[in-house]
Symmetry: C2
Subunit: 510 residues, 2 copies
């Protein structure tokens, strides 16, 4: 046959198959898109929009859709509220919200749950009024609480199908190249938004800072973005990043941190090439401080620090204590600046950070991880999902991912908080299984998981105050009295998924 420009081609060719003649209906105008990924876009289509409601009409928001958001603007995020207000105005219902995290600022989400417009929330961390509403049984379907790596896994595997991803974009060009490195709402890396961009059926970048093509330091490419919406303000810098994350000044907190650093010092892992991660809490940062002193004293240079990155880790990096930073989320202004200015402050996506089902993630390379706990039981199972009153106040985030991957996962906590024992016979909710927690450090002593007998010997030989976890439990209860069993109703308000998608626990209505 002759194709459209008069060249003779066969209809079928052995070793090739059927020949589709040029020009085809798909020439340059879209065709089969990324297999298993997001749907095809249209060629040369103008992506730029300025009216959210018109855009939502254009893409068609239907009842039952799943809308996704990232949490890099944290408690300064305007985007989720703005979008959900418009979704409500359209009269849509039975909306599922898949946000990487939910914060107190997300009052529109709370309102839409109360009004029955949003019937499910899926997130890695939930705090504020949305958490309270879920705990009170006000949402139609149970919330699903992921780990950071588990959410990436769910999106990539198709367990979590996103209809429309709304991506807050601190910098964006009209073709949809997104960066968080600069702009009034600069948040640094955009690690949690990347699976959404890659796998959502439709992707909308929402920016307040349109830049000329191509966006400097592009983190999410135009190849994944259908529309670019410009609005006045995507977020409040004061809520996006805390000013300076602070080391605790509490003497008990400092004692715990010092003990934790001693555990690290005697674990055999404080050595050249070590890797380290800690959260942004005051005690965790104090651990980083004491570890930093030990590294300097020993002339030790680590390989990387990872996770959500704080200014304190940036300081260690800039002092040469780590060769690089692997950053899924910047916690403060210093981290944002460092990411913008230093190339070995490398971004990583959520899947590379912690997805257990890809070909290898960063947590698997981690030596030392410092973790918090609201409760821990005698099997070292940890709760960071609910308070002891049973109400949702957080979630795993990277807790389970890093506990699993790291060689030494240390939980640091006071033995008693608010007149309640932290060590318990039975905890309210299991977030992270005890089998991946190695050590508990409290101001009253250090408990080592029985599955790490060699570590226990090392710490005992070093003269550290190693005790059985049951002794810590008894000690705590001697101070507070034995805690009463929490009364919950039968109704399940949230499912706690482990990183692989299995159900590690459920949260019931209180």
């Amino acid at each position: 046959m002759l194709n459209g420009i008069g060249r003779e081609i066969p209809e079928y060719l052995d070793g090739y198959g059927r020949c589709k003649p040029y020009p085809s209906s798909e020439t340059g105008t879209g065709g089969p898109g990324l297999a298993g990924c997001n749907e095809k876009g249209s060629h040369h289509g103008e992506k730029y929009r300025t009216d959210l409601k018109v855009l939502l009409d254009e893409i068609g928001i239907e009842n039952g859709m799943t809308l996704s958001f990232h949490h890099h603007l944290r408690n300064g995020d305007h985007v989720m509220n703005v979008v959900l207000d418009a979704v409500e105005a359209m009269g849509a219902t039975d909306i599922r919200v898949a946000a990487s995290s939910v914060f107190p600022v997300h009052t529109s989400l709370a309102r839409l749950i109360e009004r029955g417009v949003v019937t499910q929330v899926r997130a890695n961390y939930i705090s504020g009024p949305v958490a309270d509403l879920i705990s009170s049984g006000k949402m139609k379907y149970p919330a699903v609480m992921y780990t950071h790596g588990g959410r990436a896994r769910a999106i990539e595997s198709g367990d979590l199908k996103i209809d429309v991803a709304f991506i807050a974009a601190p910098l964006c060009d009209k073709a949809g190249n997104i960066s968080g490195a600069d702009g009034p709402a600069a948040c640094g890396t955009l690690g949690y938004a990347i699976p959404d961009a890659q796998y959502a059926k439709r992707v909308i970048a929402i920016t307040d800072t349109l830049v000329s093509y191509p966006t400097p330091m592009t983190e999410i490419s135009e190849m994944f973005v259908d529309y670019v919406l410009e609005i006045g303000c995507i977020g409040d810098p004061a809520g996006i990043v805390s000013g300076t994350t602070q080391i605790t000044r509490d003497p008990i907190g400092l004692k715990i941190a010092s003990l934790a650093a001693d555990v690290i010092g005697h674990s055999g892992l404080l050595k050249e090439g070590m890797s380290f991660q800690t959260g942004a809490g005051g005690v965790s940062l104090a651990v980083a401080h004491f570890v930093s002193e030990k590294m300097k004293a020993g002339g030790i240079r680590g390989s990387f620090a990872s996770g959500g990155i704080t200014g304190y880790l940036v300081d260690m990096f800039e002092e040469g204590l780590f060769e690089s930073l692997l950053d899924v989320q910047c916690f403060d202004h210093k981290a944002v600046r460092s990411f913008r200015d230093n190339r070995e402050h490398q971004a990583m996506c959520a899947s590379r950070y912690g997805n257990p089902h890809n070909k290898g993630c960063v947590v698997n390379q981690l030596d030392i991880m410092i973790l918090g706990a609201t409760e821990i039981d005698l099997d070292f199972n940890v709760n960071v999902t609910t308070g002891s009153d049973g109400r949702i106040m957080g979630g795993s985030g990277g807790h389970s991912d890093t506990a699993y991957g790291s060689k030494l996962a240390i939980v640091v906590t006071q033995l008693v908080k608010g007149r309640l024992p932290i060590v318990r016979e039975r905890i309210t909710t299991v977030t992270t299984p005890g089998e991946s927690v190695d050590v508990l450090v409290t101001e009253r002593g250090i408990a080592v998981n029985p599955n790490r007998p060699e570590l226990k010997v090392l710490l005992e030989d070093a003269g550290l105050p190693v005790v059985d976890i049951r002794r810590l439990y008894e000690k705590a209860c001697s101070l507070t009295g034995y805690p009463k069993d929490l009364e919950t109703e039968a109704e399940i308000v949230a499912v706690v998924e482990y990183r692989d998608g299995s159900v590690i626990d459920v949260v019931r209505k209180v």
Copy 2:
């Protein structure tokens, strides 16, 4: 029911579905992988290997498999030869080789084609003995010749399924993080290898420079890599990058380049924010030189230059003539250094560069593209696949992608080469359809595609020597005589795919 750590969970939950109890068989040990992407890896599995044959036995190379390679080491590549030698030694047969390009250095591929071990080659560009063998009908199945964007499309859509991708890695850590930024075989960006890494069933990084985790300036992440093989040498720097790409000194070439720059100058596109791409040929670089002079004279600052990046474009970038470089492949040492040292020398993957079926690619943002031709017909259809003797000597590479996407696609060529006319009534092979070519510039005049009448007026008004393309054809034939029709056999030795996967032409045995 109780899950594995004694928590009571339901078997089924409305709004959630069936609950998979923790721990599941998939906990931390792999499970459903990336949907449509590469298969799952295994947790904490040791990826590092030192013996290629043992590794090939381990993964199991079976008859009929498709093995892929990238061409960033160009004519200095050792990896394809080393791998294919081992594949032959294993006794495998009916192997398909999907390389982004094939060069004269690939003598093992030629030998395996002759011996019938390799039965098909799929590539964007083929030169050297492999091209000769294909043209002579020595390969069992027809070659498939893609465009750079079309290959990314084929991989992402599943049209091209890769069993094992072998990725030459100038720098790599034991977890599989790959960078081309440094090392003895530094090649800069790795844009053409990225679809292979994302979609091949198995991915092997092959390196001669193992670095500590994490690899600096990681371009391909561990999450896609199954194995890391260390060998002595992956490539010869002398063949990887040319020393310095040179502007032509030929007066005819300079005249053509100067005319092409005049076309640009009067096209309305030489202005603030302009974008520009050119290949590494001597005339193309001379166009860049004259454009650069016009930009400086006019105080014009462009937005980006793109494509395979040469030192000449780096110079323009460093002089402030472009705000950024979008680089899919570094052509010389200066480009490699610039990529390593300058953050706004941004890498792009092949899909972002030219895939017509994603949500937007860089070529669609391109103003001006300078293209070559071995032949061009009266409809402006261009051949860069075969010589006038009908033998394969190249391929589209990014030719069709950039011609389609750019606002002004200019073909620059001498009217006569080697006593053969370049403008022809009928060309040997159509690589790029004439409808996406805007202007032909020769030393004897400028022909404008009739589908761009407004451009013709602009150039005529500027006093440029605009002529009908048929006049150029007659002129050429008056110098060379009318070319005889090429005699080919009926046997089809290669299928030329347009970027959307339709067949634009076939190549027959000579």
